[in-house]
Amino acid sequence: MRLPVATAPALRMLRARSLWLALAGWTLLAVAAALSARSSDAQLGASHVLLGVFGRVVLPLMTYAIVGAAIGPRSLRASVAPLVAFGASPIAAGTGVIAVAAIASAACGAALAATVAAIAHGPGDPARAFDAAASAYAAGFGGAAYAALFALGAAFGRRGGGRAAFLFADALLGAQTGAAALLVPRGHLRNLLGGAPPMNLPEPASAVALALLAIAFTALALRRVRR
C-alpha cells in the first residue's frame, strides 16, 4: 500500500456491494431509456436521453452512490479519522477520498454517457462517434464536480447527511437558467449536453465552471475536515 490515503477509500468503495447494485440499477435505467429512444426512432434520441433521464437523474444519483461508498455512512471527517490516527494528515486523507470518488464518478459517468449516446443516436444528433466523445467529456466533468459537491455535503452532519441536502439544492437551483444555476453542477452539465445554458454561458465556459466548482467544493470540504 504505497498510497494508503487513496487505497483505503478505493478498497472501501470497490468492496461495497450496495455500490455495485446501485451502479447496475442506474446503468440499466440509462440503457433502457436509450433503447426506448432508439426504438421510437426519435430525431434527437441521444440528446433527449442525455438531457433527460441521464443528466437529471442517473448521473447525480450514481455519483451520490459512489461518494457514499467511498466515504461510508458517516461524515467525511469521521471517514478519514482512522487514517489520521495512523499519522496521515487530515488534508491528505480527505484529498485521497475525494480524488478516488471523483475519478470513479468521472469514469463511470463518461462511460455510461458514451454508451447512451451511441445507443440512442438519432438522425438529428451529431455524428455518433463525435456525440459519444462529447457526451463522455461532459459527463466526466459533471461526475467529478458532483463528487466534490457530495463530498462537501458529507462534511456536514454526524452521518454526512449534508449530501442529501446538497443533492436537493442542486436539483432546485440547477433546474433554472439564472445566476443561481451557476453555483451547482446541474446547469453547466445541461449546457455541455446541449441544453439551455445558465446565464447564456458558452459551453467552454461551463466546462471551466465545472472544473472550478470541483476545486472549490473540494477545498471547502478539506477545510471542514481540517477543523
Binding site: 500500500m1 479519522a81 482512522p82 499519522g87
Partner: protein
Amino acid sequence: MITFQGVTSARGPLVAGAMDSEWGPGAHAILSAAPEGGRTLLALASGALRPRRGAVHVLGGSPTDAQVRKRVAHVTADVALPDRLRVDEVLSAAASLRGDPPTEAAARLSAWGLETLARRSVASLSRGEAKAVAVAEAFTSSRVRVVLLEEPFVTLDAEATARLAAAIRAKAGEGGAVLFSTGSLRDACAFGEDIAVLGRTGSLQRLAPGAPPFALGAVTPLAALPPTGSPHESPSRLRLALVTANPRDAESLAGHLVREPDVAGLAYSAALPAQTVVLHVEGNDLVALANAAARAAVASRVDLLQLHVEARDAAEGG
C-alpha cells in the same frame, strides 16, 4: 514529551480552566472525574482537537506537525479502523503512513496473540478485537514514541490486559511515553507510574507521591458495620463496586473508609446484583478521596481484582 501550556478547549472539562502540565517518558495515568475529560485531554495531545487557547507540544512540536503525527498513536475508547479492509491491510496502511519498515501483519499481531485476525475484515471484528488490533499497531510500530490510550482496559480480556501492561512498561522502559485515561482508580494505580486526577472543572492534580500501591491480600473481618444512608451533598464522589461473596469484605473496606478524615460521607447498598456491594464515598476533594480509598483498600486487604473504582463529581450524578 507532552506539554500543555495554558490550554483550554471548546468542549469538555477544559472549557473552564487553563491547564498547565507536562508528561515525560514513562507510563502516566489520568484519572478522570468526568468521562469526557480524559477523552478531551488525549484528543488535544493527539492533535485531533485543537486548543481554544494555549499550546500543546508533543515530541518538541505541534501534534498536528506531519513528523510528530506519525510518531503518536491515539487509541480511542471506541476504536474506528478503516472499514471494509482486512486487518493485515490496515496494518500495512498504518506502516506505510508511519514510515515503518514493511513487516508481515501476522508477525506484528502474533506478539499480541492476534495472528488469527490477520485475514479477518475489520467489519467482522468485535469492539474488543478492534481495540486490540489498534493497541497492537500502536505498540508494534517502531516509529511510535507516544501512545495515548483512552480507557485501555475496558474491553480487554485478562490475557490482553496482561500483554498491554507489559507493553506499557516496555514502551516506558525504552524512553517512550504512554498516557492513558481511565475512570478506574485500580487501573490507574496498577498501570501508571504516576497518577493525575482531572476534575470536572479541568483542574489537574497529581496524586501524592508514594500513595499506597494496590496489592492482593486476604480478607480481614470487621465486626462493626459502617453508617449507612443517603449520600451527602459533597462536590466529589467515588463509587466503589466490590464484587464478593463475603459481605465482610465490604464491611472491612467501609470500616477503614469511615476512619479517613477526608471522607465526609459514605453510603452503601447491597441490593444490587448478587454479591455486589456498592459504596459511595463523598468528600470535598477528589484527590484526597482517591488517596483515602487507596489507603483503605490496602488496609482492609480486600481482593483488588474484585474492586472497581470510578471517580465522579457529585454535581454530575452517578
